[in-house]
Amino acid sequence: MSVKNKIAILFVVFALAACGRASDGPRIETSRLDNGLDIIVIPDFRADVVTHMLWYRVGSADEPKGKSGIAHFFEHLMFRGTENIPSGEFSKTVARLGGQDNAFTSYDYTAYFQRIAKDKLGQMMQMEAERMQKLIIQPDIVAVERDVILEERSMRVDGRPSSLLAEQMRKRLHRGTAYEVPVIGWRKEIEQLNAEDARRFYRRYYAPDNAVLVVAGAVTLNEVTALAQRHYGPLKPSGTPRNKRVAAQDLVVAEYQRAEVMADARVRQNSWRRYYRLPQYQRADKRQFAAADVLAEILSGGLTGRLYQSLVVEKKLAVSAGAYSDSSRLDNGEFVIYATPTAETEFDVLARAIEAEIDNLKNHKVSAAELRRAKRQLVSDLVYARDSQQSMANIFGRAAMLGLSPDDVLGWVDEIENVSAQEVRQAAQNLLLAERSITGHLTGNVNARKDGS
């Protein structure tokens, strides 16, 4: 028997074994303090360490007009001194205790975390609670930190043509909504941010009822809740409801046929990308996002994906190609397709070949084998994620920021399993719309025409 046949037979056996009812997920436990702080605990006793995260329901999308970058700027200031912890000492204390810490800011949330031995969890909570309401914002430190952030922007964005391109594309794709502004902020606006902006932001958003505590690792819900009650329990809620967002479902990208071109002499390798704006998550039917995940897996998914197969293997127009669906945002997410053309390939030839693959998915159902393979990849990714307590804390914390419970996350496996070939086709038809997309060309040819043709 050839190996290929053996593989085929094994595959059928697995497929047959796949019937049967799915159970609930791992033991994720939740509770809530009287002041509104939500608690999620993800037990994992393999090592005596914990990941302690505090997620705030505030991100760059909540910034006042003209103050872009304040959410991220503020995240930096959280390391710069409280009543009892001098500037810079927060991280040094965590390190001295054998831990690591950091933080990150996105459109819809800001999260702070420490990874440390389990017996230090209480102390981490004490420190995190302290900076939730006892931060000291000093103008001289604010001025230094602003320089740090300008350096960060130079490194991550201004010095990288590909990041500048992404920024310009999103500005057009999300025009009129909070996501038209980059998380790190516009340089001109960062330069003007000051201590008073930071204080105003702090008072409004940093409160227990605007936060979710996530602890993964060698702990039980009872232990975590008791410690949280002691350290976070005394904090006062703000009572401020989450900001309403602008609805943008019907926005059409002006001049969507005109590509955004970033021609920069530093570029040595051309690249092409397209962002499709997804429907606003909060108001949309969530099932289509599960279908979008399957669709992206079918398009992408390494060598077996349709884009790679068609553009790289068959037509030899590209060196790499893929896609992903990023629907996990409160407002409009993005479905992203990208490709690196070969030296001989013009952008419009590449775009036509990609569009042919998209049209194919709109016009024909995917095969059962393709659908099964995509689902298996997506579902097994979640099993692999269980290996890392940090990944688990991130998955459930991010979901909580979208208003999703742990059960919703675990139910996502069923959602994926239930996606039909017809739904994948509908997702292609409904979500991959040219008039809600923007295309970008990154090129080293500084004479490239700005209209991208």
């Binding site: 159970s23 609930d24 001295r96 740090v148 298996r376 399993e417």
Partner: protein
Amino acid sequence: MRHKIIAAWFVLLSGFSAHAAPPVQTVPLRDMEAWLVSDYSLPLITIKMAWRGGTASDPADKAGLSMMLARLMNEGAGELSAQAFQKAMADNAMSLSFSAGRDDVTGTLRCLSQYRDMCFRLLRLALTAPRFDAEALARMKQEQMAAILQAQQSPRSIANETLMAMAFQDHPYGRTRNGTADSLNAINAADIRAHYQAMMARDNLHLAVVGDIGRAELRRLMRDIFLQLPRRTTLPKTEKTAIRQGPLSRHIEPTGPQTSIVFAQNGLGHDHPLFFADFVMNSILGGSGFSSRLTEQVRERRGLAYSVYSGTSNFEHAAMWNGAVASDNKTAQQAMDVIRAEMRRMATEPLSAERLQAAKTYLTGNYALRFDSGAKIASQLIGVQLNGWPIDYFKTRNGQINQVTIADVQRAAQLLTPDRLLLVSVGGTKITLD
């Protein structure tokens, strides 16, 4: 199958021991030995396999050969074309990938227990009957060429490649791992096959296995797969080398708001008596992120950079101390001056006992964080083997750090040569070592 996957979610995780490192067993078979951590709390298996060799073993006119080999090891084997092989991997929810470092080529297999038989079969095929088809070869060459070009558009990569060439000159460490357009063009399928046969042998193999697998099954796997490899490697030995003496600096002009700076000098190798003192010293100077003096002085106090660090990179045949910073063109020289001042201060000013203690509790406490997942444990097991350290390193490491004294740290710091660095700056400001 589905509820097996879901059942995996169910189990309360409760595997490894309460100490920093989990218990590691050695599993011998003939002339091979694997390091194993069995853990049955998740239905996952991770296998790391590494062969000494790596890009340093590429012939000068075929630089990029090991990277090409790594790219092609999962692109078709036995009767399976690249396409069929990748499909089989996807159908079995497994991943098998290879990467080439300067001193080794390392493969990583991750699979779910329920698909283990197929995973092991595909691994066996990949290792014993790789195809190196013309189609895959052409495709991977293009991929590698794109990687070469992409590296040329990042200031930090340009700086690093220039620094390595400056530091190691004609030694293979001085070449870029992906090679050049010319050296890549010179590589054909026969070269790759010969390199595979010369490198992937038993006497330069290291194996680390973690997860839902016991001794007996591992031995079976070693017999079925790894015992099929040739007994001896025929790669030529890479020669020991040292980093060129500075001061020497080079500036590369373009563009952008920042100047990216990298700098280097000789470092202390594993066998140096001050190795652990140097490790502690580097942690305090520039290796511990927010706690390091460089971050404190360059970033927190002066706002000159977002990221700044230094530390020792140990290659198998050389030790390099290096660091990096990127700062606005207007402030880049100041940032570099502050870094060099901190290097001097480290050598002249003894640490306080508290500062040394803080560094020790950071380094020893942090060690446990490298063992909190199966994937990380596998990386640690293979890393210790590649460094040539004994299996009790996991237990003795923290003790050796705790023995370091203030005087040891100062002695290690006195080996820093802030006035004789090799330095490369890429950006608007030419950085000097005056």
